[in-house]
């Protein structure tokens, strides 16, 4: 609660500073503020009869009505701008009404550099629903309940600086910590190996200067190939949980990552390569079972058009654990052991029909090591430029010891209807 208030206060402070800096730019003249937004209803119904704990939204893990308002503007010289995107959500699944600041930032532009300050969504890397060098906050609850893909990412409260010296694009991000939104027992049913009944709390990193997160990217073209290098000095965004006396405490250990990516047209399609090293700084010898061990992650992807309006994308992804012996020795009883190399394949097939008003999409995560799967079929129809509806499903299956298989009591079908204005 106090952390939440702190966050609100900090966001307000950032915006106050931003508006002070921006005011002179806008006093010189604006192009006006453009407003738009949408109304959206979204519901996901659990597919199977499950014995839910009393606190879990059992039949409908998602049931909400959402209004989004977006305002954006630029000054007349184009040297400064802002964007705000706010969601008012009536969340019937967990009986909550909330106002969410999805994005709220100010921009400065110049010939050779730009800056963006405030809450902003940042997406890096070349994977499709697989992230290696993109360590920015994500919302897997939104993914698993079938929310539109824009809700996969959460905004970072950050200062983003871009410089464009010659051919390269340099990006530096200084961000405050923000955790991922991960499944909890409020909407999800899964086996929890930690002792039941103990009160839980998470301790977020403080917000002192030394605890800020710094990420950088350098990218450029080599002919028509795109190369990028990345680093992040960040935190794990999933809490590392451990029983401490009579409670379970979650912390967010430090994480450093470094990596690179390549995108190139090969044959009649596009090849994507990405790799990164995850240095788990608070568990360098791999002997702390509550903290993820250091890992090497990599993916290779290829996508191409099959025929008109039909596209197929395939990816192979691997996570290789560095200190595997230490992991096996210290893994507590009752926890399923991971493979040293966790392999996942993905398939995406998209087909557009009727002048691109009807979209069929199928995405599959196939756990090759953990023998589990997560399938996402969907069908979207645009009734007009303003109104679309989508039906789809999130189908988890396979071994319950796997990451996706452990969620199989949460398979759901969903319906989203959006009216944009």
């Amino acid at each position: 609660m106090i952390a939440a208030m702190n966050r609100v206060a900090r966001a307000a402070a950032i915006m106050a500073v931003a508006s002070l800096i921006l005011a002179p730019s806008f006093a010189a003249g604006t192009e006006g503020v453009a407003w738009d937004g949408f109304v959206q209803s979204h519901a996901a119904g659990r597919l199977h009869q499950v014995n839910c704990p009393p606190e879990t939204a059992c039949d409908f893990p998602a049931a909400e009505l959402r209004v989004q308002l977006k305002a954006e503007g630029k000054n007349s010289s184009g040297s400064a701008g802002f964007l705000g995107r706010f969601d008012l959500v009536r969340d019937a699944a967990i009986d909550d009404t909330r106002l969410v600041t999805r994005e709220l930032f100010a921009d400065w532009f110049s010939e050779k550099a730009t800056a963006r300050l405030g809450r902003q969504i940042i997406t890096w890397g070349v994977g499709d629903l697989l992230f290696i060098n993109d360590t920015f906050p994500k919302d897997s609850v939104a993914l698993f309940t079938g929310q539109p893909i824009q809700y996969l990412k959460l905004g970072s409260d950050a200062l983003k600086l871009n410089a464009f010296p010659g051919a390269a694009n340099l990006e530096l991000i200084i961000a405050d910590f923000r955790p991922d939104n991960t499944p909890t027992s409020r909407r999800f049913v899964f086996v929890d190996p930690l002792p039941p009944g103990l009160p839980r709390r998470t301790v977020e990193p403080g917000h002192r200067a030394g605890e800020l997160e710094i990420s950088g990217r350098i990218s450029g073209y080599l002919d028509n190939w795109e190369l990028a290098g990345y680093f992040s000095h960040t935190h794990f965004r999933n809490p590392a949980l451990r029983a401490a006396g009579d409670e379970v405490v979650g912390t967010f250990p430090r994480l450093n990552t470094i990596g690179a990516s390549l995108t190139a047209p090969i044959g009649k399609g596009v090849l994507n390569l990405e790799a990164g090293y995850y240095d788990s700084r608070e568990d360098r010898d791999g002997r702390d079972p509550s903290i993820e061990n250091s890992q090497l992650r990599g993916l290779i992807g290829y996508s191409r058009q099959l025929w008109e309006d039909a596209t197929l994308g395939l990816q192979l992804y691997g996570e290789w654990m560095r200190d595997y012996a230490a992991y096996r020795e210290t893994l507590p009883a009752g926890f399923p052991a991971k493979d040293r190399l966790r392999k996942v394949a993905t398939v995406r097939f998209t087909h557009l029909f009727a002048h691109q008003t009807l979209t069929f999409n199928f995405f599959a995560f196939l756990g090759l090591s953990e023998e589990d799967r997560y399938l996402i079929p969907s069908l979207r129809y645009a009734f007009s430029d303003n109104l679309w509806a989508e039906v789809g499903a999130n189908l988890f299956g396979g071994k319950r010891s796997g990451m996706f298989g452990s969620l199989q009591d949460n398979s759901n079908v969903y319906l989203t209807v959006r009216y944009a204005f």
Binding site: E31, D36, G37, F38, K74, G78, G81, D107, F109, T114, Q120, I121, I122, T123, P148, I149, Q150, L152, K153, N162, F164, N169, S219, Y221, N224, E226, T263, P265, K268, G269, V270, N272, S303, R304, Q305, E308, D309, T311, L352, H355, Q356, T357, S384, D385, N386, W388, R418, A420, F421
Partner: protein
């Protein structure tokens, strides 16, 4: 651009010289198509336009797309870059497209998805697939290669009061269309009308240049339509604020401006 034009003109001159014995004044079909592609897709060193597209289904229901299109020519190779920014409708606002077009190989194409702040490279083996659900293909928007088809001059006739060469073009490789008949303005070199025939030689689509105006030094088709004769779906496009040689720089056609629209040009 200049070298390309020089090549084109010298080829035109060469063609004229070669064909003197047969037909004193008429250029060959290849020259006509070459000049037409040059005029229609390469005018100026660069171009900026506001483009309004109406997608009209057989029941008369209209969907609209409003875009800013920027284009730059990169010189002798015939390479071009296109930047297309969507102003509306609301659901696609701020989406942008980048195309690096090469006459002799597959284009490079990127899309920017604003909700995720994501730049994604898209497989571009689909020059003949629909551009944003319209009846125009990517190829119709950014041009086709002269050498992909063989061209024959059928006749010369007036169309809507304009003198026009009627040229038949057939794809050299197997394609989903069998031929295209084009009426090309004999003085301004712009296509006035095109009839497309499918693989069974049935009429499939009709292009019409509905309004031709001089913008700066260049004759420009400012209103055009494409009708799918088999489905009844049609697309109407209006070009407004057309400007040539405005001084676009090549770096506008990169990831940086895909993410942040260049406000000097995208208004």
């Amino acid at each position: 651009m200049k070298p390309l034009r020089r090549i084109v003109f010298s080829l035109v001159a060469l063609g004229a010289a070669v064909s003197i014995p047969a037909r004193a004044a008429e250029p060959s079909a290849d020259e006509i198509v070459r000049r037409s592609l040059e005029t229609f897709y390469y005018a100026g060193n660069d171009m900026r336009a506001k483009v309004q597209m109406k997608l009209i289904n057989p029941q008369g229901k209209v969907r609209e797309r409003e875009m800013t299109m920027l284009r730059i020519n990169l010189g002798k190779s015939g390479d071009q870059r296109y930047y297309i920014y969507f102003h509306g409708p609301a659901d696609v606002k701020s989406t942008s497209f980048l195309v690096w077009k090469y006459p002799a190989k597959e284009d490079d194409r990127w899309i920017y998805v604003p909700a995720l702040r994501l730049v994604k490279r898209i497989a571009a083996d689909d020059k003949r697939s629909s551009f944003v659900g319209s009846d125009f293909t990517y190829e119709d928007v950014s041009g086709r290669d002269l050498d992909d088809e063989s061209h024959a001059l059928l006749r010369k006739e007036d169309l809507g009061g304009r003198p026009a060469y009627v040229v038949e073009s057939k794809p050299k490789a197997a394609a989903d269309s069998s031929r295209r008949v084009s009426w090309i303005d004999a003085e301004r070199w712009l296509p006035l009308k095109e009839e497309y025939f499918d693989a069974r030689n049935e009429p499939s689509r009709t292009f019409t240049a509905d309004k031709v105006e001089q913008k700066g030094k260049y004759w420009t088709v400012t209103a055009r339509g494409m009708k799918n004769l088999q489905s009844g779906h049609r697309t109407e496009v209006v070009f407004r604020e057309v400007e040539y040689d405005v001084g676009l720089k090549q770096d506008i056609f990169t990831e940086r401006y895909l993410r942040d629209a260049p406000s000097q040009w995208v208004r």
